[in-house]
């Protein structure tokens, strides 16, 4: 996190805000709710209260403005600049302006007002932009399902550096951005996609191409706003050019980078019994057309040609994959090996000799 130059802050902890006008894009009640939730993001983690007033001058005046609105920081039409806010202080200090030329929403279409408001309020309270790509105070916009939003730890550290900890008995903590070369790095799921490797973790994924040394960390929502965070298993069916992504008892299908269906399908359509609530890991063997699903200490085998589960499954993982215990985090096949991820370790398994031939760090693909 970074504090605004000169460390400006509000001297009072009980601040007022006023919504000066509304956008025609949204129902006024939804605007009120988005703004209220944005304030709550900060009042939950710092000893600050925000009271709404309806007349007169509030500490934080929030308005929708268009083009040059006479504050020396004109807006630029759709996209580009979305909003801005002023550091703590009198008059225009603390005020938040949203670009009315944007399409504001309470969901994933256009720009989500809650996120933008929460980010701008960070400036109103004295925070500058963070260089942590997972932080709310990172300068570029990215969408997260509002119900899944938790204020990242970087922002909590920032606001508490200015105002101290919240008065409540429970000290809130937030998610941290994964570090590519962290030796303790674990993954939720790994899959190939047209020659690239995708490593999923929380609301992020890394893209790695075997010919390119650099690895790229992105938000899942950057490419797929309709996908949830926390993908639990993934595999590529090279034949059909599909990538399957699993979370809980649902799955989504990609064709290249495009979602094939707008809505997820049920894993029970694949033939899983109802007592299977989620899949830990999966990979597909393109030579045999068999897909392997790992759940707890067992695995299922699915025939992609017949589109049905093979008979005689589930079987114990340890029986057919000696050296691989239970709770596989992620798995994928590359060349003649299968790579199992368990915690911060990666097991290179040779299916021909049926044994683990090498144990590596989970992030060995990232050239750390």
């Amino acid at each position: 996190y970074r504090l605004t130059e000169g460390n400006p802050k509000w001297e009072r902890k009980d601040l007022t805000y006023r919504i000066v006008n509304y956008t025609p894009d949204m129902n006024p009640a939804d605007v009120d709710k988005a703004i209220q939730n944005a304030f709550k993001v900060w009042s939950d983690v710092a000893p600050l209260t925000f009271k709404r007033i309806y007349d007169g001058t509030a500490d934080i005046m929030m308005s929708f403005e268009i083009g040059d609105h006479r504050d020396n920081s004109p807006f630029d039409g759709p996209n580009g600049l979305l909003a801005h806010a002023f550091q703590p202080g009198n008059n225009i200090g603390g005020d938040v302006h949203f670009d009315e030329a944007e399409f504001w929403t309470k969901g994933s279409k256009g720009y989500n007002l809650f996120f933008v408001a929460a980010h701008e309020l960070g400036h109103s309270l004295g925070l500058s932009h963070s260089d942590d790509p997972g932080a709310l105070m990172y300068p570029t916009y990215s969408y997260i399902e509002p119900n899944e939003f938790r204020l990242p730890q970087d922002d909590i550290n920032g606001i508490q550096a200015i105002y101290g900890q919240s008065d409540g008995p429970i000290k809130p903590t937030g998610p941290t951005t994964p570090v590519t070369c962290d030796p303790k790095l674990t993954f939720d799921a790994v899959a190939t996609l047209r020659g690239e490797l995708l490593f999923f973790k929380d609301r992020y994924f890394w893209r790695k191409h075997s010919q390119i040394p650099e690895v790229e960390l992105n938000f899942i929502s950057l490419l797929w706003p309709n996908l949830p965070s926390g993908i639990q298993a993934a595999y590529e069916n090279v034949e059909k050019d599909h990538v399957f992504l699993f979370k809980e008892n649902k799955y989504w299908v990609l064709n290249g980078y495009e979602l094939v269906y707008n809505h997820p399908k049920s894993i029970y359509d694949l033939g899983f019994p109802k007592n299977v609530k989620r899949i830990n890991a999966s990979y597909s063997d393109e030579n045999s057309g068999k897909t392997y699903f790992f759940v707890g200490d067992k695995y299922w085998r699915y025939d992609e040609n017949r589109q049905a589960m093979d008979q005689g499954y589930p079987r114990k993982i340890i029986k057919d994959f000696p050296g691989i215990g239970k709770n596989v985090d992620a798995v994928f096949q590359h060349d003649r090996y299968i790579y199992f991820f368990i915690g911060n370790r990666q097991y290179q398994f040779d299916p021909n000799v049926k044994r683990v031939v090498s144990v590596m760090k989970s992030n060995s693909w990232f050239n750390c």
Binding site: T4, N79, L82, H84, H123, H129, P139, Y141, E214
Partner: protein
């Protein structure tokens, strides 16, 4: 004379880079001293600052990744100072 292919795009990108650095990284080319060391290009230095902030490869050049980040929707508050 006809405009050479690509020139228009290059001009647009140059404008994008200058505007971006002006808005968010205090880039003020008109304020550069004529006596300043000619070996350091202020635009390159500002680009490096921006690339470091966003965790990009620090080249000092407006490469594809850098231009992609500059085209992303964002907050209008500068990344450095006020």
């Amino acid at each position: 004379f006809p405009v050479a292919p690509g020139t228009e795009d290059e001009d647009k990108n140059t404008q994008l880079v200058e505007n971006y650095l002006r808005n968010f990284y205090k880039f003020e080319p008109e304020k550069q001293s004529p006596f300043k060391n000619k070996n350091t290009n202020p635009l390159t230095e500002k680009l490096k600052e921006m690339q470091t902030f966003f965790g990009l490869k620090v080249t000092g050049k407006p490469d594809v990744e850098t231009l992609e980040v500059m085209k992303m929707s964002r907050c209008g508050v500068p990344d450095v100072g006020q």
